[in-house]
Symmetry: C2
Subunit: 157 residues, 2 copies
């Protein structure tokens, strides 16, 4: 079973990701400021996708600014840096579980518990590139988002 769906030491997996993020940012000369860092933590703490206004609410409760751009800017930064992804279908954001590794993401969204996981996407992307190439279309970026049931919720349903 995928780590995201398994019971796991959550604080540990968050800590790891955070450490990796800091290393990456240092390497690139990008700044993981307090707001940005806090937003990343919020995303990491839940394996679900959070809306910009969810994030904003928490930020503002913690003394950061309380206007939408505060949340959107931090989220946009994280997405640009590959530390988070935007889930189009949900108008929401998740922490990236494979920051640093170049990867185009495919997301598995559980419609019961809202957990979001990243699936290995290489074969999917290859199939898409092929299908597109046959029409003469060159794919630059793809969003692949699947809605369904995660292993934990299949039993429940």
């Amino acid at each position: 079973m995928h780590p995201t769906f398994e019971h796991h030491d959550h604080s540990h997996c968050c800590g790891d990701s955070l450490t990796r993020a800091e290393a990456l940012m240092a390497e690139r000369g990008a700044r993981l400021t307090p707001v940005r860092r806090r937003v990343l933590e919020l995303l990491l703490e839940s394996h679900r996708a959070l809306g910009a206004y969810d994030v904003l609410e928490r930020l503002s409760a913690e003394g950061f600014g309380n206007q939408p751009p505060v949340a959107y800017r931090a989220l946009d930064f994280l997405v640009e840096q590959g530390l988070a992804h935007r889930i189009q279908r949900l108008n929401a954001f998740t922490a990236c579980m494979h920051a640093g590794e170049a990867h185009a993401p495919a997301f598995l969204i559980c419609r019961a518990c809202d957990t979001v996981a990243e699936a290995p996407v290489a074969p999917v992307r290859a199939a898409l590139d092929t299908a597109a190439a046959e029409l003469g279309f060159v794919v630059e970026r793809a969003s692949i988002e699947a809605l369904g049931l995660c292993p934990n919720c299949q039993g429940a349903a």
Copy 2:
């Protein structure tokens, strides 16, 4: 090259789709009312994705209601009936080019000219199902949207 990207007899391709839509609706006992029909025409006339408010603007100019639900209801109906698709990435809608044939869609969106085409998706979907199954996840619906350059715009760029 894919028909969508090729110079083609547009009024003819629209007429075909409209005829097919009417046949389908009759068969199902669903009603393709004037608003709904007009919205479908609008989507067919452009091979691009139209936002709900774009559609609304035209409707209202033609004497239909001028409030958002008028457009959203017609669009939702068309999507439910498989006559149109929603493009998550663009918050917009396109006419379906394969109404009646059961199909999960993959969309190719040209970032230069905004044309949207549907690509054959079976292999892509199979790869996605496989990747998901390895994590124990069951895919019910998937949105696959690719951003890139269509054949016509590759030369220009």
